[in-house]
């Protein structure tokens, strides 16, 4: 491996800017770190270069641990967004800087300089000053300068940021050619997905300091694992759907499209389905559809964009499907699907705004995320409304690009005895109150996959504590934790708790700890820290939550009777948000 990052964490004023990033980059690979501004990608690049220290983790270049090696001794080349050329030196002096530092002979320097200038197509520019060059030429000089000392790794920090479109494309091609010719391992940081697609062998997508997903561009586009990646890479329609035994249902009808897998036995699940705009088909009637039927829709808007036509279509049965989010307007609650089709399709079936059409979908991708939507539940409407406006909930929903609906459920107060009007789906959200234990239990029994207990005005967490009470709930808890952690800028800590007297249980406890960590890593690509506690589980968790307010506890259970017994006190008094995940214990529930 050329570059190995192992659990890199960098904090700024306590909050992680780069959060447990691990990645291996192969020899000669062109790796692109893609993310919105503030996602920590530049900080990570500076850490690899050695300009920023890391708080945790190891960096190896070609098998050499360089975590504590000074930047000048790491053997990397770095190209800055603003070129950072030495303005008082000529192009030649700039390029030879690294060679002069190394006391190379003048003739050897000159030869190397010629070679580099040829590489970046700037022959004969030796005696110019940087101010006499255009932006594109300056950046070429910067690339040549970064390569002068034959670094083993080339790092590029938004190198095209300050250039106009045409120059950008030209320089992009040059950099790709240079990279191929030298076979140098390269990391490029950018916020431009088009750039990433054009250059990358592999893309790593960062958001909120975490490396969310990693893979070849085409794989990430076709099969994103998270909402963020689905909408950040190209346009996408995210639709809430039901994963049932019959298939994926959007608004009642099963859409048996390619890519949908069979539902895991037992309960129906709410899932998030991704449809790319080019995968949605429109036709005059269901018979003429060449793909699986999605529903009927009304054309709202038509837009011509060169080779393609862009349409926005309202899904008529979306009332029950609920929510459509496209990457264009991430917060629109209206169920508008974005569709693109070729001019060829447009000629075959021209449509006008207001026209009713039949929609089909060629490909449908279901996200693995267990957190699909939030439902604010309370026994009265104003209360439910208040919960749905809690800052932390709004923040989570915005980041997850999902919906917060409200639901008034008078039966909630009596709990246990009465049934709900309709089953719940996704995550139910309630306020902390003395009877919370019972309410949580009741909600879980009526279809909610998890319950978020939200104290009033809870703050965004910087630490997420994870604990599951019994083995059956482990998988679901880890999945929910992974999903949650992608959307908050926080560190994950698994708390293993051993009974005080259990000297004998100690090895088991430690094994559980290690298992938890390796499973989180293997299945979800999630780095978690582990800590060991002793004594009663509820007391230990209460104590840890009391340490600071900016925490969130994810608690996995399979036997929900404990919620009203051992955990009643914790649930009713918590000052930190608490997410209860329920994975029903197997045999009795299956029936």
């Amino acid at each position: 491996m050329s570059i190995t990052l192992d659990q890199i964490t960098k904090r700024y004023r306590g909050a992680p800017v780069v959060n447990d990033v691990s990645v291996d980059i192969g020899d000669g690979e062109f790796f692109v770190l893609l993310g919105p501004s503030g996602s920590g990608k530049s900080t990570l690049l500076r850490a690899i270069a050695g300009l920023t220290g890391v708080d945790h983790g190891r960096i190896s270049l070609h098998g050499r641990d360089v975590t504590h090696v000074a930047a000048r001794a790491r053997g990397v080349g770095l190209v800055f967004q603003n070129y950072a050329l030495f303005r008082h030196m000529t192009v030649a002096d700039n390029i030879e800087f690294a060679l002069r530092v190394r006391r190379m002979r003048a003739s050897a320097r000159r030869e190397r300089r010629r070679e580099l200038l040829r590489l970046v197509a700037l022959e004969g520019m030796d005696n110019r000053l940087p101010v006499e060059l255009s932006g594109g030429q300056q950046q070429r000089v910067a690339v040549a300068r970064a390569l002068a000392h034959k670094p083993e790794v080339l790092l590029l920090d938004e190198p095209f940021g300050a250039l106009d479109a045409k120059i950008r494309e030209e320089l992009r091609r040059t950099i790709r050619e240079v990279q191929r010719e030298l076979g140098i391992t390269t990391i490029l940081v950018t916020h431009d997905q088009e750039e990433a697609f054009a250059l990358a062998d592999r893309i790593g997508i960062m958001n909120l300091g975490r490396l969310l997903e990693l893979g070849r561009p085409e794989d990430l586009y076709a099969r994103p694992a998270t909402r963020f990646v689905a909408t950040f890479l190209g346009a996408a329609n995210l639709v809430l759907a039901q994963h049932t035994a019959r298939g994926i249902c959007i608004g009642g009808d099963p859409v048996m499209a390619l890519g949908s897998t069979t539902a895991p036995g037992g309960r129906d699940h709410e899932v998030v389905a991704v449809m790319r705009p080019e995968d949605i088909e429109i036709a005059p009637s269901r018979d003429e559809l060449r793909s699986s039927f999605l529903g009927l829709g009304t054309v709202e808007q038509l837009l011509f964009v060169g080779a393609n036509e862009r349409l926005r279509v309202r899904l008529n049965n979306a009332a029950s499907a609920g929510h459509v989010v496209t990457s264009a307007d991430s917060n629109a609650s209206e169920a508008l699907l974005e569709i693109t089709r070729t001019q060829h399709d447009r000629r075959n079936y021209p449509v006008n705004a207001g026209q009713c059409v039949t929609l089909g979908v060629r490909r449908l991708h279901v996200l693995a995320t267990p957190l699909s939507s939030f439902t604010a539940c309370a026994s009265s409407a104003p209360q439910a409304q208040a919960i749905s406006e809690e800052p932390l909930l709004v923040q989570l929903a915005t980041r997850m690009k999902t919906r917060v609906s409200t639901r008034v459920e008078p039966a909630m107060q009596q709990a246990a005895t009465e049934a709900a009007a309709a089953p719940f789906a996704g995550v139910a959200v309630i306020n902390t109150d003395p009877g919370a234990g019972q309410t949580v239990q009741w909600l879980l029994q009526h279809g909610a996959e998890a319950v978020l207990l939200l104290p009033h005005n809870a703050v965004s967490p910087v630490r997420v504590l994870i604990h599951w009470l019994d083995e059956p709930s482990r998988r679901a808890t880890l999945a929910v934790s992974a999903s949650m952690l992608r959307h908050v800028s926080a560190e994950a800590v698994y708390i293993g708790i051993l009974a005080d007297d259990g000297e004998a249980a100690r090895p088991d406890g430690l094994r559980a700890l290690l298992d938890a960590r390796s499973e989180a890593q293997a299945v979800h690509g999630l780095e978690i820290r582990t800590e060991l506690g002793y004594g009663d589980v509820a007391e230990e968790l209460t104590r840890r939550l009391a340490e600071m307010p900016e925490q969130l506890l994810i608690l996995g259970v399979s036997d929900i009777s404990v919620l009203t017994e051992r955990f009643a006190a914790l649930l009713s008094r918590t000052a930190s948000p608490l997410l209860v995940v329920w994975q029903p214990g197997d045999p009795p529930q299956q029936a």
Binding site: G50, R72, L78, A84, F86, H88, F97, R102, V131, R145
Partner: protein
């Protein structure tokens, strides 16, 4: 549209200030009224005395000693400021610490203080019974009423010039440049010598020239701490005042002319040096 834009461009003023003719007129007028004419009067006054008297005044032992002290102490003071003013500016630009703003404001104080006040203050501190002078006396160093005292007074007076000229130049040195140099393998000293220094050197020279010029002309703060012993701690401005008190206007004018010429030569030399330095590092070719 296009024609209209062209028309507008022709009639609009290229700059917010009125045109070249007017500004150049003001420039010549002010320079003449405030600098050139008084100086010319000085020269003509010196020239109207007889040549022997002129040479006698200007080359007398006492006058020569005073030149040496005036220009020597100014040069030493400006050199001290060159080093420590740079460090001060560096600290103020590069580090953020509690009280930074306060210290920044303190820098300008020597500008605002009447120079006589700083002279008295320095004498109080550095006199043999003074706060610092006491300990220096123990070490056998006598500050007040020696050339060291003169130098200290001139250092104090010149310090803001260095700091204030170097500060903005240092602030302009981009951190990225240092990062780039470091990644290319340069150590800190090399980065300082090859990246930072070339960028701020012109500003440092300007500051040096200003501090030096200010030192040569300084009078108020020096007279108290120097003690004004002829041949020893008498600076040229003091000698000029003494001549004036003796109603020897021609002598005073003659000494003034010498100061004027040496100062002018010195400043011109520094400017030339700066220009030459810039050309050598090729930064003027744009």
């Amino acid at each position: 549209m296009a024609r209209e834009a062209v028309g507008k461009g022709t009639f609009s003023q290229p700059s917010v200030l009125p045109g070249f003719g007017l500004t150049f007129g003001f420039t010549t007028f002010f320079l003449s009224a405030i600098v050139l004419i008084p100086l010319a009067a000085l020269v003509s006054m010196a020239a109207s005395s007889n040549w022997n008297a002129f040479v006698h005044t200007v080359l007398s032992e006492r006058a020569l000693a005073s030149y040496r002290l005036s220009f020597g102490a100014s040069a030493v003071a400006a050199s001290i400021n060159l080093v420590f003013g740079f460090i001060l500016a560096w600290t103020l630009v590069r580090y953020d610490f509690p009280g930074r703003k306060f210290i920044d404001a303190l820098i300008d104080l020597p500008f605002a203080l009447p120079t006589a006040v700083s002279g008295i203050a320095l004498t109080t501190v550095f006199a043999q019974t003074g706060f610092l002078g006491r300990y220096l006396a123990l070490a056998g160093i006598k500050v007040a009423y020696t050339w060291i005292g003169v130098t200290i007074a001139l250092t104090l007076i010149g310090m803001p010039f260095l700091v204030r000229t170097v500060q903005p130049a240092l602030a302009e040195v981009q951190r990225d440049l240092e990062d780039a140099a470091e990644i290319l393998g340069a150590n800190r000293f090399y980065i300082f010598r090859r990246i930072i220094l070339p960028t701020v050197l012109p500003a440092m020279l300007t500051g040096f020239a200003l501090a030096f010029a200010r030192g040569v002309g300084e009078y108020g703060s020096v007279i108290f701490i120097a003690g004004n012993l002829p041949f020893k701690t008498e600076i040229t401005p003091v000698l000029i005042v003494i001549r004036l008190e003796e109603y020897d206007y021609h002598g005073a004018a003659a000494l003034g002319c010498v100061m004027l010429s040496i100062s002018f030569l010195g400043l011109w030399a520094i400017n030339y040096l700066q220009h030459w330095g810039r050309r050598r590092s090729t930064a003027t070719r744009r």
